[in-house]
Symmetry: C2
Subunit: 415 residues, 2 copies
């Protein structure tokens, strides 16, 4: 199966917008045992679209996924480009028109001329429904047998239609069903994660992929089988094996961020959290408050960036701060204790460190981080991390994720 | 001039890495009056690279910018692909080898076999020096006259070599010099920014581009002239005109973020800042602490996510909170006053609001934000913003940027 991806839009070539769809398409195809032979970006121009499709056809592509250029404005030329390439006239498509009018009605507005354009598709095209926006996508098999899947460029629309309408059908011809699960890990680098599951990579019926982010690594697990139920059953078994190897590196599944995993455990236990941050400078609180409903369990935080804040607002002993240094395990522990006490929270989580570019005393280079967690039974622990050679925002993000991970683990140990 | 961009790398097609270079290349070319006719991504494969170059040559491209695949590992095939396309044998390039050995020495390690590969280039290639990494780039004119500019994919290396070595030479043949400046604005959407400078777009000797981010809009100004000094002089005049139209929407130049502009003004004045955040949940403090050296002027912040925090830690009057509601101009003003007082800071900056998905009382929909700023002369003001239909992290970011902007403006008014 030879597949190609074509993103259409002047804005993608003039630095106005970054195409992110290729990332998703590439990743999803890999998990389904498929791969792209090429990807390209072309302007909103009939002949450019035509040449790109001619080139893919000549190169032996079976399917081309197109994104963008399906909107109502005059610069949206994807329908025209595909029609010209296929030698198929554009005509008002009844099913498409009905869908457009339904979406227009949902938006409480009157239909306009531009809405008709959205439903004017190359003759012979089949509609790909868009449940999120007004512009339908379409599927067309061209004269050379090359099939086109045209999808809107709007991210939410593209994502849903790609996963729901296109990806499953790119596998037509294969008798196999694919079941896929994403595990999210933290606390180890991509190499360690890949090493732990290395022997599982050899299984012919199971595909694994690792994708590294800042302090997080995603593991994608895909299983093929003759039927969907068998595939799901096997996936469950494979995921259990992967989880066994990875142990408590795994903090969540699917799209769930680490802060959401923490929120889920706090919610289940009916517990609350307060933070006292130095090195993370508010980022830890910000990750927590990105979670909808966080006001139910996040009582508040201090960004104790000055010694005065640490002693006066948090009530730390000035002598301790002077003796241990404001970047120290001792001070991080005292901050965690005070954060918990001041708010009457179940948990108090604290960070200190040097975000850089400068460090502190000898041995305290930029990237040195001390974390501490205080819980219902007193101090749960304090941890030291080193993130050398990393810029300021990255030190903050890695430190904040390490802190979230410490809390998540502590709740797991207790339950 | 017909230009094309080709990114090379399996990882770009399998969802492991997103190509961001296209964004920069497109934007920079637009400001120099040039544009890409296409962009494509191909795998690390000799024949795929060869076909892409054949296709660009057949389509009449004059120059192709290649990125990636210049590393030392066996999957890096760009040198081989270009050599095969040009019919030029690979040979050790003396100048390139010298540069590689110099970079190796800078890294305090011994040369290895793989280093030789880095300097093995198609016969006839000219070296493009890499001052940041070990892999040199190269320039080659192929048999059909198509010229290749091959650059490493590593972002810091690509960026420097693109701006320093390639972009200026893509304009060879033109007698004109280009001078470019980036202005950063906040406080208005892209349409308003574009409208204010609309009549300047018509000038033949000046190119303007607007690029929208979350709560920020960049304006790129480029000027062409026969000599570099004349170009710089004209640029200064055009930038002054643009600044005049945009007034205090402009907060900085080049890469300077809004928080850095705030930091610059605080530093100049020897003043300090404390924050009290509700709706922004720590993000405001985090943007401020992203700035190197922020501990000199950022005294600390409270993430007052609960009513208890607002009254107990910040010392707000419980009756006021109950009467006005914890999301209200009154409470944001009291928070700003207390943030300033508790820390003895020059400025106190506060945010309240509904980040969503839920809002508050009738009329208080998600995205409603109240900001307040207290300064040396008492309350500077409080402001209400509405960011409807925007997700939680975006409400937080826009509110935080609006707060930074309020502070930045207040310091400007005083000076």
């Amino acid at each position: 199966v030879s597949l190609a991806f074509v993103a259409i839009g002047d804005e993608l070539l003039t630095g106005r917008v970054l195409d992110r769809h290729l990332l998703q398409v590439g990743r999803d195809l890999a998990m389904h045992g498929l791969s792209l032979r090429s990807a390209r970006v072309v302007p909103d121009d009939v002949s450019a679209i035509q040449s790109a499709l001619d080139a893919e056809s000549a190169a032996g592509a079976r399917s081309v996924v197109l994104t963008g250029g399906l909107g109502p404005t005059p610069d949206d030329m994807t329908r025209e480009g595909v029609a010209a390439w296929a030698g198929a006239p554009l005509e008002l498509h009844a099913v498409a028109h009905e869908q457009v009018l339904r979406q227009v009605a949902l938006r409480h507005r009157e239909p306009v001329d531009a809405d008709v354009r959205l439903a004017t598709l190359p003759k012979g095209a089949a509609v790909l429904p868009n449940s999120v926006g007004t512009a339908p996508g379409f599927h067309l098999v061209g004269p050379t047998g090359l099939e086109i899947w045209a999808l809107p460029g709007v991210p939410a629309e593209f994502r849903r239609m790609w996963l729901g309408e296109v990806l499953p059908r790119l596998r037509v011809g294969s008798e196999q069903h694919v079941a896929l699960q994403v595990l999210r890990t933290s606390g180890a680098g991509e190499r360690e994660v890949a090493d732990r599951i290395a022997s599982l990579f050899a299984r012919p019926d199971c595909r694994l992929g690792t994708y590294a982010g800042e302090g997080e690594v995603e593991v994608h697990v895909a299983v093929e089988a003759a039927g969907p139920l068998v595939a799901e059953e096997r996936l469950t078994a494979r995921v259990a094996e992967v989880r066994l190897r990875l142990g408590d590196l795994v903090h969540g599944e699917g799209d769930e961020a680490l802060a959401e995993a923490v929120a889920r455990r706090l919610g289940q236990r009916g517990e609350t959290l307060a933070t006292a941050e130095s090195v993370t400078g508010g980022l830890l609180a910000s990750l927590l408050t990105d979670v909808p409903g966080s006001s139910a369990w996040f009582l508040g935080g201090a960004v104790a960036y000055s010694v005065g804040h640490k002693t006066r607002q948090l009530g730390l002993d000035p002598e301790l701060v002077a003796r241990a240094g404001h970047v120290s395990p001792e001070v991080s522990r005292a901050m965690a204790r005070q954060a918990r006490a001041l708010h009457g929270a179940t948990w108090g989580l604290a960070t200190t460190g040097w975000a850089g570019p400068d460090g502190g005393r000898p041995g305290e280079e930029a990237g040195l981080v001390h974390l501490a967690l205080e819980g219902p039974d007193g101090l749960c622990g304090s941890w030291t991390h080193r993130f050398p050679g990393v810029d300021r925002p990255s030190v903050k993000l890695r430190a904040a994720r390490a802190a979230l991970r410490a809390l998540w683990l502590a709740m797991g140990l207790q339950s």
